[in-house]
């Protein structure tokens, strides 16, 4: 499976499509950290970064999964089997979005934060980005070509889906991926207390999204 993951990532990078999410990532990081973050504001900034970048992660995952032609996907299925091909695609997408998230976590340590955050805030920030990676990859997979063949419909559902997640997450932590919930918690110094429900909700929604993608792929190949 690892050679197929390598093949997918290599094809994506060589196609230069990786520049799209990288530019989105840099734009978001520039906006958040352009004026600098004073001491004590690290975790709220990380929570905003994770919440906003979920859209970039979804875009990146969709781009990677859609990068190879449909016939190549069929060749890969005959080579390694349907399940492994699906897992390899998702693993490649998670590695890509994980790398983008790593940049988002490390970037402000050098150019954004006035002071280096403590280990706890750094861990919370990395954890929130990990939740955004999982949810963004699931959203990207659900809008990829095997699920939505039309590029226009796919882009509209991806952006609309992200906005719906934001709106619904204001209704409560279980209404959708709790993006606004983790932002509010971080800004009001309540993240440690509410972390359990936030993590559980984000994992559940991400797992549901990935399971839905797998179910569609089982039918459509």
């Amino acid at each position: 499976m690892i050679p197929l993951v390598t093949f997918r990532l290599s094809g994506y990078v060589r196609s230069h499509r990786i520049f799209q999410p990288v530019l989105g990532l840099l734009a978001v990081l520039s906006i958040i950290y352009a004026t600098g973050v004073p001491a004590g504001g690290e975790l709220p900034s990380y929570s905003d970064s994770a919440g906003i970048l979920m859209l970039v992660f979804a875009w990146a995952a969709r781009g990677l999964l859609d990068n190879e032609p449909d016939e190549q996907r069929l060749i890969a299925i005959t080579a390694v089997g349907r399940r492994r091909e699906l897992v390899a695609g998702l693993l490649a997408a998670l590695l890509l979005t994980g790398a983008l998230a790593l940049v988002a976590v490390v970037f402000p340590l050098f150019v954004g934060f006035a002071e280096t955050p403590g280990g706890a805030d750094l861990g919370y920030g990395a954890g929130l980005h990990l939740l955004a990676v999982l949810a963004g990859t699931a959203l990207g997979a659900l809008t990829s070509r095997p699920v939505l063949a039309s590029p226009a419909a796919s882009a509209a559902v991806l952006v609309g889906g992200y906005m719906a997640i934001l709106l619904l997450s204001s209704a409560g932590p279980w209404a959708s991926v709790p993006v606004l919930d983790w932002m509010n918690a971080a800004h009001h110094h309540e993240l440690p207390d509410r972390l359990g429900v936030i993590v559980a909700s984000a994992l559940a929604w991400s797992a549901a999204g990935l399971a839905g993608y797998a179910a569609v792929r089982r039918v459509r190949g």
């Binding site: 050679p3 390598t6 290599s10 094809g11 016939e71 069929l74 060749i75 005959t78 080579a79 390694v80």
Partner: protein, 217 residues
């Protein structure tokens, strides 16, 4: 598209799938390859190693021919098919980028990746389309070799090149059914033909004639 369809393929068999356009030949091939699931019915005892060459090789990929074949060999956990690329006359293409290939050259890449790793089931969708005469003859020989070591070969073939492979069985897909076509038996006495040609072309012609089922000495 296909209903009440049945096909029994023994190890070492070569099946040529014919039929008018749009009758379900490619659907049948994808069912056999495991790319589609039958709504009803089942496909049993499919060999573990499957080689699949689609009708149109997806050449819109950012790799050279050599890099692509190297990646696919790694994916299949087999050696890079260097002998196959030589036999299919594509060694000079190895450094070229996939999007720059002609249709026939791209088709050879699709065949090479499918043939790598000695597949137990080889699915070829219009494998001879766009190939030059030498590659067509060599492909027939390769198909015969796959069958000789117990592999199953199933191919749709509008050109009829597959009929030169010894023991090929023709199946016709029509009206959603699969029927074995009646073999054409020709009661024709044997004769010996002497051919004079440049020495450099002798091996290719001999291979082609052998592939067509003729005895060459």
């Amino acid at each position: 598209m296909l209903s009440d369809a049945s096909l029994d393929l023994a190890p070492g068999s070569v099946a040529e799938i014919t039929g008018p356009n749009g009758t379900g030949k490619s659907t049948l091939l994808r069912l056999l390859a495991g790319l589609l699931r039958p709504v009803r019915g089942r496909i049993e005892e499919r060999p573990a190693v499957i080689g699949y060459a689609p009708e149109r090789f997806p050449s819109a990929q950012p790799f050279t021919v050599a890099a692509y074949l190297r990646h696919m060999a790694a994916v299949r956990r087999v050696a890079v098919p260097e002998e196959l690329t030589a036999r299919l006359g594509m060694d000079h293409l190895l450094g070229q980028k996939l999007p720059d290939l002609s249709k026939g050259s791209a088709h050879k890449v699709g065949l090479a990746q499918a043939l790598a790793g000695e597949p137990g089931l080889l699915i070829l969708d219009e494998p001879f389309a766009g190939l030059d005469a030498t590659a067509r003859a060599e492909l027939s020989v390769i198909v015969a070799e796959v069958a000789a070591r117990g592999g199953i070969v199933v191919a749709s073939d509008h050109q009829g090149d597959l009929r030169s492979v010894p023991g090929v069985t023709r199946y016709e897909v029509r009206d959603g059914k699969i029927a074995e076509a009646v073999p054409i038996v020709v009661d024709d006495p044997l004769t010996t033909l002497t051919i004079k040609l440049p020495q450099s072309k002798a091996d290719a012609l001999a291979a082609r004639l052998r592939a067509e089922g003729h005895e060459v000495s």
